[in-house]
Symmetry: C2
Subunit: 143 residues, 2 copies
């Protein structure tokens, strides 16, 4: 984690940002979690260690980490956004709107679309962690 810290400290430092204890604790909480974490869950973890943090600080830190490309955000349609550390791998999700099943999809699946958008519209799409809604095979069978 020391090496991680210092590489993040570098990234922040290069842009004139500080690596404050609050930011470290938010980062640790994300790395600490197995999978996609919500802001509220991160907040709970941080509060356990330092009760004076404010949830705004958590949101602001997440915003910053997104900008730096350290975490990705995803909305799986639960009414709350979830976060995922980039260094734990990229992937996408197919969300069935009938049964709620979530199918994980390889990063490469969207590579072609990314190419098309770049070629045709000169637009560099940021498709690192995307949720696609629809209906899974099982639910379509059941009429």
């Amino acid at each position: 984690m020391d090496q991680l810290d210092s590489s993040i400290a570098d990234k922040l430092g290069q842009r004139g940002y500080r690596l404050t204890p609050q930011r470290l604790m938010v980062l640790a909480a994300i790395e600490n979690s197995d999978d996609h974490v919500s802001a509220e869950e991160i907040y709970a973890q941080v509060v356990a260690r330092y009760p004076y943090v404010n949830i705004s600080t958590v949101y602001r830190t997440l915003e910053l980490l997104k900008e730096l490309g350290l975490v990705t955000e995803i909305d799986l349609g639960e009414g709350r956004v979830r976060y995922h550390p980039v260094d734990k791998g990229h992937h996408h999700h197919l969300v069935c709107q009938k049964c709620g099943a979530i199918i994980d999809v390889d990063e490469s699946t969207l590579a072609r679309l990314q190419d098309v958008l770049l070629a045709r519209y000169n637009f560099s799409a940021s498709l690192r962690h995307v949720a696609i809604f629809g209906t899974c095979g099982k639910c379509r069978q059941q009429q």
Copy 2:
């Protein structure tokens, strides 16, 4: 509009729903608007005609119209969702996160992805009105 009304009344009736004055007014407000409307804008239009409507009713009606496939929803990253009547045509949007430019994209652009997801994951993706975030050519040139 009469014919439209009755076809919608049919769709609703088949499922045991009613075509109430509130729902008619919400629908009229959406059809009445040139482009993508927010719930607040729809609410404002409806209130002008009937001041006792509640914004919850607007949201609930929009939810219903989505389910019936009459309107699509889109989040262009402004902190509020916008709605679009299906009968005014389908399309997608590329949203530049640097300058905020919005590039309209033809429906067919995502057809191939839809095919791949169906073939590979047996998943029928609902990609009728999608926002893709990234960086436009102009903003990438400016370093």
